[in-house]
């Protein structure tokens, strides 16, 4: 009997839950954050989720939102699972989100075709489909400040700099160890192209998602092949394992590069002192010496409104979450400026993101001077191909190594355009861009 009433209750609850959706205040905008604080990728997921939500919370606490419009923040737990991500997408779609920040390449790939139809902008900060940088083909997708292909080209550029020019890459051996999923595969076409162009040999070491914590066979191969440089496209539990294994086979750590997603503090710390020299790309500041981070500390962390572990406050990935939310907030602000509306909708948000212009003055105003480079997006360019820099692990923390430098944009951009055309052809009929280009 009890079981039956339980089932009946469940059915009632189901009906109620689909009928009633939370109502947000009139002068607020709804920003869902896809996060994963659970699952095998939680190690990288938690700091970013904290950074993302803390920055927006700080804006609400300090300024009462953006120009008086509060941000209604809601997390949707995806567990880095594409299926759950699609579910989250459907769930938040009903509540008129301003922007979707899928925070997973797999989920991004799934929502890209939907976004244009549902008219919801997708912000995939430095992840997702590289070709989405071509705004004329993907008007609803944004991947600032740099694409994966920019990242891969930046690593190759840095290697070339150390070797004395791109010509010296000839005959070198570069290993690529990657998470065997959409995310890790994203950079392969570019690296293959580069290896033909510059004459280096590329060896691939895929790490299946299930085997992330057991990479001994891949590293055995690395030991056998002795590549001159290693590039890693890892995420979650894969990163600390790779760093540990690299230390174990005594791979020269200063020749081991990670993309920006392989640069969590916990990732490198797994190798301890021996991981000294491990390098990853970065596009924002590390540590808490920035006014904006201090504000977050004051208004959010010290006020007990954050989930962050104080010891991990302002670490590399946390700051990346802050950067991600800054892009969202600046998109909203820009949209308000351009439309004159206070409470904007998703179509306005798209225009805002497309005309995003974070210059030095604005960075200073936000307390982000030196935290990030300037960023300007346009209708054709949804990525910005931002400059990056290399950070090096000193055994305890990340240290900036060398200056900001540009990815090989002039080589990458035509390849992106070509890839966008290919995507368009493979997904025919792909809708032509109808959104007018607002120039200012």
């Amino acid at each position: 009997m009890r079981l039956k009433s339980l089932i009946a209750g469940g059915i009632l609850a189901a009906m109620a839950s689909t009928a009633a959706l939370p109502v947000f205040a009139e002068d607020s905008v709804y920003v869902p954050l896809f996060s994963y604080r659970t699952g095998p990728f939680a190690g990288s997921g938690i700091p970013i989720a904290n950074g993302m939500s803390d920055y927006l919370t700080m804006l609400n606490e300090r300024d009462g939102g953006i120009n008086g419009v509060r941000i209604a923040i809601e997390e949707c737990e995806t567990g880095y699972d594409t299926q759950k991500g699609v579910e989250c997408y459907e769930q938040v779609k009903a509540k008129n989100p301003l922007v979707i920040s899928p925070y997973s390449t797999g989920i991004t790939l799934q929502v890209i075709p939907k976004a244009g139809v549902d008219k919801i902008p997708v912000l995939s900060m430095a992840y997702g489909l590289s070709a989405a940088a071509v705004g004329n083909v993907f008007p609803w997708v944004f991947n600032p400040p740099a694409t994966y292909w920019d990242g891969a080209s930046a690593i190759v550029a840095d290697i070339a700099r150390r070797e004395g020019g791109l010509e010296s890459l000839k005959g070198k051996k570069i290993g690529y160890i990657y998470l065997d999923a959409g995310y890790g595969k994203e950079a392969i076409p570019l690296l293959e192209d580069f290896s033909r162009q510059y004459g280096f040999e590329l060896t691939l070491y895929p790490v299946p998602g299930k085997e992330m914590q057991n990479q001994s066979s891949q590293w055995l191969n690395v030991r056998r092949d002795r590549p001159d440089y290693m590039i890693m496209w890892g995420w979650g539990a894969m990163n600390p394992t790779a760093v540990k294994e690299a230390v174990k086979i005594r791979y020269p750590m200063d020749k081991f590069y990670g993309v920006w997603w392989s640069g969590g503090n916990d990732d490198a710390a797994a190798g301890g002192e021996d991981a000294k020299g491990y390098r990853t790309l970065n596009f924002h500041g590390v540590g808490s010496d920035y006014p904006v981070i201090q504000d977050i500390k004051k208004y959010v962390v010290d006020a007990g409104k954050s989930q962050v572990d104080p010891a991990k406050f302002a670490d590399n990935l946390y700051n990346r979450g802050v950067y991600n939310s800054m892009l969202i907030a600046e998109g909203i602000r820009r949209a308000q400026e351009l439309t004159g509306k206070k409470v904007i909708d998703a179509t306005d948000m798209r225009v805002g993101l497309e005309n995003l212009n974070v210059d030095e003055a604005r960075l200073k105003e936000m307390g982000m001077e030196g935290f990030a480079g300037t960023l300007k997006l346009s209708c054709a360019d949804h990525s910005g191909h931002h400059q990056v820099y290399v950070v090096e692990w000193d055994g305890k923390d990340w240290q900036k190594s060398g200056d900001w430098f540009s990815p090989m944009t002039e080589v990458v951009r035509p390849m992106l355009e070509k890839a966008a055309e290919e995507y368009k052809a493979a997904n025919a009929p792909w809708p032509e861009r109808t959104e007018p280009c607002l120039s200012n």
């Binding site: 189901a14 392969i188 997904n427």
Partner: protein, 359 residues
């Protein structure tokens, strides 16, 4: 009272052999179909259709597929996710090679690819049974998943390694791809699920289904009575994989919209197995109960607390959901090992004598 059969006489063989011999069942099924066809698509919102109704129907079909094999033919399988994947990848290949053929035809054809693979992996069932067979199907699961990752031809050498569903229309309405609305997708899925459920129901009532059940109940006795295990077991594998393949194709084409190989991981196999066990092995209606229970419960648990004013963080809800679903499955199997279908049966028997608890 509600289920009293007094006065319902059968005067012909046809009347005796119909699918639903009881009038109340016929009315009930008609009402459910009526609601599913005429009410749900017009009343429900986008979220209900896309995130609950469509995956529920698809998973119910996959559960029927597994139930044919495990519930009716007694062959334990853990390879459901892999077979669903075969269907999905086959459908993707078919529709990219023959873009002009209606997508529903491809979906139905892709099941045959899964059936073929299923039969190959069903061959060991002639020699081994029970847990040992479960392990060989588990091998199928891993092998197939490996294929989805490692054979680039399957995903058309796509850089991301995922299959992306192109837009296809049916009678001028988009049913797949991003521009397809939830209502056309719902109708397509519903039509396929109804069609295949009716087919399976009739298959189960007939010679083939009875052979499966004989094999399940006692294979040696069945063999002595003239059932050929080779045909019975392999046909069960074929039909089961066919249904799983169709479900997998629909899962990608009408629900996910794009899929990475991880979408067909062992997790999906387990999910479908839970649905089959919880719904009730050897029962068609149980498949629908099980799918509804396992699919909808986490969504309800996640959406429920905030509705009644208990704010919980997204990941807390996630942890709680895992715990509650796990606990409920254990509790359920202790209280009613025959699943939800058995509960429904008990309910029916009680309704028959209602309002008197005895008789």
């Amino acid at each position: 009272m509600f289920y009293r059969e007094a006065g319902q006489f059968k005067t012909s063989y046809a009347a005796d052999q119909q699918v639903f011999p009881i009038l109340q069942d016929r009315i009930g099924v008609a009402v459910i179909l009526g609601v599913a066809i005429f009410v749900v698509p017009f009343v429900a919102n986008d979220f209900f259709l896309s995130a609950i109704a469509i995956p529920f129907l698809i998973l119910a079909l996959a559960t029927i597929g597994l139930n044919v094999l495990t519930g009716y033919a007694g062959q334990l399988s853990l390879g459901t996710g892999g077979f669903m994947g075969v269907g999905a990848y086959a459908c993707y290949k078919l529709t990219t090679i023959f873009p002009d053929v209606p997508i529903v035809v491809h979906v139905l054809l892709s099941g045959f690819a899964a059936a073929g693979i299923g039969m190959i992996f069903g061959l060991p069932s002639l020699r081994i049974k029970g847990l040992y067979l479960a392990v060989t199907t588990l091998a199928a699961q891993f092998f197939l998943e490996w294929c989805f990752i490692r054979i680039p031809w399957l995903y058309n050498y796509n850089a991301s390694g995922a299959i992306e569903v192109p837009g296809r229309d049916l009678f001028g309405t988009m049913v797949t791809g991003a521009s397809a609305g939830s209502v056309p997708r719902y109708f397509t899925v519903l039509a396929i699920v109804i069609l295949l459920t009716v087919l399976v129901k009739n298959l189960l009532r007939g010679r083939i289904g009875r052979q499966w059940m004989m094999i399940r109940d006692m294979d040696i006795a069945a063999e002595l009575m003239g059932v050929r295990p080779l045909y019975a077991k392999l046909s069960a594998f074929a039909v089961s994989s066919y249904l799983c393949g169709v479900a997998g194709a629909m899962f990608v084409f009408f629900y996910l919209g794009a899929a990475e190989p991880s979408a067909f991981s062992i997790t999906l196999s387990f999910q479908v197995l839970f649905m089959a066990i919880l719904g009730g092995l050897g029962s068609l209606v149980g498949c629908f109960f099980g799918a509804a229970f396992i699919w909808a419960l986490p969504i309800i648990l996640r959406a429920g607390p905030p509705l009644i004013g208990i704010p919980i963080a997204a990941e807390t809800a996630f942890h709680i959901t895992s715990m509650i679903v796990g606990a409920l499955i254990v509790a359920f199997l202790i209280l009613e090992p025959h699943g939800l279908a058995r509960l429904w049966q008990i309910g029916k028997e009680k309704l028959r004598v209602w309002p008197f608890p005895y008789a």
